[in-house]
Symmetry: C2
Subunit: 146 residues, 2 copies
């Protein structure tokens, strides 16, 4: 079986392929989803990790407003739709295996539903877990706008 | 069913829990794995995404040398064991849902098996895919040391 991304490994910077080949070569899991890491484009903060299906990727590329697939709600999740805290896409890339996406974004306000800037606030050390940040927005107000 | 990480959402910065509670509360998938994002601690580059089981997390915390679980080899994957390009753990955190890890690391040389610094070199735009970086090390030499 041909592996689109394996075949690209030895190619040089600037080598180009079609969008359809790029999306068709992605390795979605059994639920048709691929993990997507969202990173603030200028500061480098890793904001969150969520999941996309092919249609969510295509919508995100077209609109430049990031759209995920919510596994808990089993529906499209247009980031910021209810909270107003949208993610605007700056660039999208996939890794060597074609099984993970990295989205560089411009995040308005809190990326996390807890009101924190990012979701990775539970620091784990050999001595235990420590919460490392506080909310920048009141989570009760984040979802009362709709 | 109690949800350890949900219960932590409203806690403030500095709140502490035991390591056992933190690891027992993580949401591993049906294969007992959790995705782990590796980020270069000082530059913010997202280097790669791989998977860990609980034992790999514990080993990584104890040794501070990052150990993943290789899904293709079905075995522990001590990063840099054959290539020499080790990842030293600087800090580990998990997200609000307890289903993704973020590892801040110090990566020696190339993180990617293609010899590139990071794995996210396939940039996807509405107009197609472009390879955005070249190897910093010869991949044929990376794995010839063992």
């Amino acid at each position: 079986m041909s592996d689109f991304y394996k075949d690209l490994e030895g190619q040089s910077k600037g080598n180009q392929s079609s969008l359809n080949d790029a999306l068709s070569g992605l390795k979605f899991n059994n639920d048709g989803l691929i993990p997507a890491i969202a990173q603030q484009h200028d500061t480098g903060e890793v904001l969150m990790m969520a999941w996309m299906n092919r249609a969510a990727i295509e919508e995100t590329l077209q609109t430049t407003q990031v759209c995920y697939w919510s596994r808990s709600r089993n529906n499209y999740w247009r980031k910021g739709e209810s909270s107003g805290n949208q993610q605007k896409l700056v660039s999208m890339s996939t890794d060597c295996d074609g099984d993970t996406l990295l989205l560089k974004v411009n995040q308005l306000g809190a990326a996390c539903h807890t009101g924190r800037r990012d979701c990775f606030y539970n620091e784990i050390k050999p001595t235990g877990l420590t919460i490392s940040s506080d909310p920048i927005q009141d989570p009760n107000q984040l979802y009362s706008k709709s």
